[in-house]
Symmetry: C2
Subunit: 115 residues, 2 copies
């Protein structure tokens, strides 16, 4: 069986968050615009304010966004940090891949025929 890494859950949360096109748009607007209120954010999209609010909660849970609340107004701003987790995963995967290919060269020198 395949071992499940401990940070798997967090990585899943991050990846699921950014796999939604609208959430990526949201994120893009956030990095372009900087801190912005939920309502103003919603104005740029053709979905309801509520939908935007929910998307933000998901981004927030993933740590991709943080919120500074000042009574009614919630200032939302992006946090690129968690995207590094994705990068780390990718890097690890590639390292495993490379390691295997290195090992393969040894096998090739022995001429062990296997495809």
């Amino acid at each position: 069986m395949v071992e499940r890494l401990p940070d798997d859950q967090k990585l899943t949360e991050i990846l699921k968050a950014v796999s939604e096109p609208r959430r990526r748009e949201l994120l893009t607007l956030l990095v372009q615009h900087g801190p912005i209120r939920v309502t103003d954010l919603a104005r740029h999209f053709d979905i309801s304010l509520n939908a935007v609010s929910k998307h933000i909660k998901i981004l927030e849970a993933a740590g991709l966004v943080c919120r500074r609340t000042e009574w009614r107004e919630h200032l939302i701003e992006p946090d690129m940090g968690p995207v590094g987790e994705i990068d780390r995963w990718f890097r690890e995967l590639r390292s495993i891949w490379d390691k295997r290919l290195d090992g393969l060269e040894d096998v090739l020198s022995k001429e062990t025929d296997d495809e």
Copy 2:
């Protein structure tokens, strides 16, 4: 309104594909193991062969995996290529962010308040 990039759809496909923990496990096993048959792949997981088959199709559609079919036997092997798309997206996002921060310094000197 927010502009939608043309490669958005492909990126979504890739991200959705890897956002599924089991698919990441599948991918991990693939890079560790190299080309492997669907059935052998499935043996490592506690879900049905059919479920694995479906996951592979999704990975394949995203270009993360390719398949060499030889009659009944389908040899599956990973392709890290598309993960670069994720990286590119991330990099672009960060570049926008950095650009904005640079601009912000100018704004701070002018003190033009605008939301």
